[in-house]
Symmetry: C2
Subunit: 423 residues, 2 copies
């Protein structure tokens, strides 16, 4: 029995018919190696933007269900065209959308999670020797409603398919050559990582490395499917392998694997919350119920005299309007004070499985930033990540300094074309 390889090509890789033909070559190359191949594709280039623009012309707030119906058409186009391109080169191919396969999601529109993938039709087509071209980003509920998976959806589709089919590997083709120690736009001597662990990749993704969505990494981690991130247009480059195995060599020699900055957050300070048990739970419970993810949290010590706390936390910019509405609505209930918003911030993070039990790493990070005369507004840490909130203007310099101090600078300039990820 052949190994199954799942490949995923994003929107820029299938942006026009010429590029689609190149993708067909990459697909056939994998098939020629003797593998069964399942290819997941996104909508072509700017299709999604165009569809969203039309929807906005009709309604400021179009219904989530109809947005999913609208957006899911984008992948229908790219799977049909890629199948034709593969067939034109003399190989058998068949396109399938989420409804045809049975990529079952929960009944939530625009950010549904996959709960099951039917594999019977897929296995039959693979057994028949066909290359299967699958629409990414979309799913279907048990009731036959079309859903979409939200940001990073096609990556998640690919990894989930790989898991369902027990694939040997999931290859994410993109317009960069792999995962870098940091954003080569900021640090030209950034180094491509040959290998990185799920945990490290997850933290890197969470702190702004757009190369792979955290949901996809989580899904891969759960099923232990190795992911390879590689360039669509440079097939000789092996890219970066993301696996469950920690890279011991790097761990011993390099405590830090990557450095990244996240400019999408905004800091909120909710002042003068009475220091009563349950108030913080009420605040964050309400936000959680509204599906708003909170990242860094700091609660100040209760001030002497008035017995109140200030609670500072960061959220994604996209959630700001809804968050302030929620805070206003519970302010009276909490007898709380003013709400301050600061969107002039950047979260600078270092990530590495090698930093566990090396207390010197955090100190080196703080010291490096302090030496630049930059004030650290908030700090958060995990097993393999340390993040510092700084002013936006200081972000790039901090990244450069940290990249150097943790020995990540390459002796050669990173050659990366097209849209670059944040790491």
């Amino acid at each position: 029995m052949s190994d199954i390889i799942v490949q995923k090509f994003g929107g820029t890789s299938v942006a026009d018919t010429t590029k689609i033909k190149s993708v067909a070559d990459a697909v056939i190359k994998e098939k020629e190696l003797g593998n069964d191949v399942v290819v997941v594709v996104s909508a072509m280039g700017h299709t999604t933007d165009y569809l969203v623009k039309m929807a906005k012309e009709i309604s400021e707030k179009p219904s989530a269900r109809e947005m999913d119906m609208l957006l899911s058409t984008g992948e229908g186009v790219s799977i049909a065209l890629l199948s034709m391109a593969i067939q034109e080169k003399g190989y058998q191919a068949i396109s399938m959308n989420a409804m045809q396969i049975g990529i079952i999601t929960e009944s939530v529109h625009q950010k549904a999670r996959i709960i099951d993938i039917k594999t019977d039709k897929l296995r039959k087509h693979l057994d028949d020797g066909k290359i299967i071209v699958v629409a990414g980003f979309q799913g279907v509920t048990e009731d036959g409603e079309i859903t979409t998976l939200g940001r990073g959806g096609s990556d998640t589709s690919a990894v989930a398919l790989a898991a369902a089919l027990r694939a040997k590997r999931c290859d994410i083709y993109t317009d960069v050559e792999g995962v870098y120690t940091t954003d080569p736009r900021i640090v030209p001597c950034a180094t491509r990582l040959k290998q990185v662990s799920y945990g490290e990749m997850l933290e890197l993704a969470r702190v702004g490395a757009n190369v792979l969505h955290p949901r996809a990494v989580e899904t891969a981690d759960l099923s232990k499917i190795p992911i390879r991130v590689r360039s669509t247009f440079k097939l000789d480059n092996k890219g970066t392998l993301i696996t469950g195995v920690e890279n011991m060599e790097i761990e011993l020699s390099q405590p830090v694997t990557g450095v990244a900055s996240d400019l999408s957050q905004v800091r909120i300070v909710f002042c003068d919350i009475p220091d009563v048990p349950g108030n913080a739970a009420k605040l964050f419970g309400t936000l959680a119920k509204e599906n708003i993810s909170v990242d860094m949290i700091i609660q100040s010590y209760a001030r002497t005299g008035n017995n109140t706390n200030d609670i500072a936390f960061t959220i994604d910019k996209a959630d700001l309007t809804r968050t302030t509405q929620i805070l206003e609505s519970i302010r009276e209930d909490l007898s709380a004070g003013a709400i301050h918003i600061d969107d002039n911030i950047a979260k600078v993070s270092i990530v590495g499985a090698g930093m566990v039990d090396r207390p010197g790493i955090a100190a080196t990070m703080f010291e490096t930033i302090a030496k630049m005369g930059v004030n650290i507004k908030m700090i958060s840490t995990s097993e393999i990540k340390i993040s510092c909130l700084v002013e936006k203007k200081d972000s790039d310099e901090a990244i450069k300094a940290l990249h150097t101090i943790f020995n990540l600078d390459s002796d050669k300039i990173a050659v990366v074309k097209g849209d670059l990820p944040n790491i």
Copy 2:
């Protein structure tokens, strides 16, 4: 229980978001009359052309299955946008594609016929007060394969849905104000018909009246669903009603209802076919097996001496390449001679339920054409239609003369905007 009205809007009616908003008004107007409304829409404007162009860039002969996957996305866009537009105006709407409804077709790609339509979900949504926006032109096989219905597909979808739901009426909205006695581009004083029978409409459609596809008319005739053809942009105009009831008044006063020309045919003469029983059957049987429709047929008398026939027939231009291939392949088997092709022809027809049992009508037609010095190359007749094949250059003059001789000229100029149908 409310009456159900099925409406159908073609590609030009939903060509952009502004037009989609106008369509939403027309839909809501029908709903406000107290009816349950099901709306069938085609792909926006030139979407289909654009998709076909991309497919042709990839493959000269893309697979029919993948073409259906590709083209079916077009309606996915328009149903989502129209649903949003209706919702934006404060009404409940839900879009549904063929797979979600269960518009079951035979397993043929690019020209599938509908064999069943599931109505349970449709009825549930109508009972909930929702306006249902349905993707026209597409179907799904029992195996979950996406199919398309071919030319006139959305009209057929609308009429078939009306039949399945036992609708009161099927309104075909188009960019003309109804069905005319002939093409107003050729005869400016063409008259809009208030009413026309299924049979007449079928013949008119078959001889080139693009306003409604013959398949849609046939489907309506079978289920006796009245069709109203009317303008999207002039909602005060009542259009033309197509019903099973012959319009007795017109029948008595006007033997001919309409005049039309069809420029899409090509005449083939297959020479020197030995006059042996079964040869004609072999010829037309082979063409039928390849799904090629033959229209007019003339077989010459066997010539003295060589005992062979010439068989002349007309087919659609689109089938020419395949037809000549087939003829070449059976020529030896039939011991037949040369194949002559003439695409410089037009089929000019008069249609009217009132011409039954009035032998003078045919004579008047032939005489009128003869007086113009025009040679008639072939003739075919049915109960309610007489067609003459003439040279293309004589077509318009023949139409004008016939329109006048059969008293169809209106005393006022037909006011018709946009793309005009052939009648």
